[in-house]
Symmetry: C3
Subunit: 138 residues, 3 copies
């Protein structure tokens, strides 16, 4: 078994889902491995990961809008407000989604379902550079 | 280290939690490995995974009913409705639970807690065949 | 590739987030491995894992309080109440957060982001000893 690891820098232009399936597939290709698991890790607490439908953009916008309604930015109960009104809601949205994912691969290809894409979910309004570590085990 | 991978097809008869711990243990047994991690990956965006109490069925039905109340099917804010009223809520419920899990094993046995079982959570009302990829690393 | 596995026992004094990043780093150190992935698995269904901001305690208390408001203990719809009013809400909170996490490491160090810590999230009010299995693959 071998280990191959790369860090991806993703530039998220504000709130929403940003697909980076191709970048993960690129790391897998460079690893030269045939079969195993790719683990993906998001190094942030106000952005997260999700594996979501990548066909119809309205599925993603409905998902983001629904979570915005569940975790509104103007909740008067929040004490942690120094970093702005969208900081604490971002931590909550991160905790409700994922920080790490493990995706199998075979014959050098990610074994995603037909409609699945790998997304960074940016929860902050301002643009951020986000780092994701991809580790191939195979 | 070795890699062993199998695809399971699970037939979910409508909404709810469907345990498949035994099938995962079967893959582990066929791998012949002693110690490591089993990763489980759900290839769908309207079904998901959860590791939940497997003793009292009322714990599962309460969990499913609670999430149904949180994400009702008749939300007028949804735009993504072409695939039916339970499609967009299914994507949201998937995003709030899990697509991948990593379960350790030792002495050829899954190291689940006393009350833990591995479940497919079907979010759609109609019956679906769902595929889950099990990869044993050890 | 090698496998190294240890079980941690964490004593959680009631509801809230309990950081155990140092214990995970300790397991990694004892493994002697240089590069790979650490998987962390919580063996319970009324406690869970989250990787959260570890700087300002108010971020954690706001997160815990928000989830308490989302999943109140006195929901009359619950049938699974034999183990106390905080049992079913604990299962739900567990399902909305994480049972397993995969954290990359390089040069013998966990590759967490600057503000990330690894936490056990205890959802029950009474003190519990919780077991978490840490497996190092590298």
């Amino acid at each position: 078994m071998a280990v191959f690891q790369e860090t991806l820098t993703l530039r998220a232009r504000g709130v929403g889902l940003h697909e980076f399936t191709e970048q993960v597939a690129g790391v897998l290709g460079r690893s030269g491995m045939t079969r195993g698991v790719v683990t993906i890790f998001c190094q942030h607490t106000s952005a997260s990961l999700v594996i979501m439908e990548n066909a119809d953009p309205s599925a993603r916008s409905d998902l983001v809008a629904w979570l915005d309604r569940l975790v509104p930015a103007d909740d008067p109960a929040f004490e942690h407000t120094l970093e702005g009104p969208d900081d604490m809601p971002s931590h909550i949205k991160m905790a409700l989604t994922r920080t790490s994912e493990s995706v199998p691969f075979a014959e050098r290809k990610l074994q995603l379902g037909t409609w699945q894409g790998i997304f960074l979910w940016e929860h902050r309004h301002s643009p951020h550079a986000r780092t994701v570590i991809v580790t191939v085990l195979g």
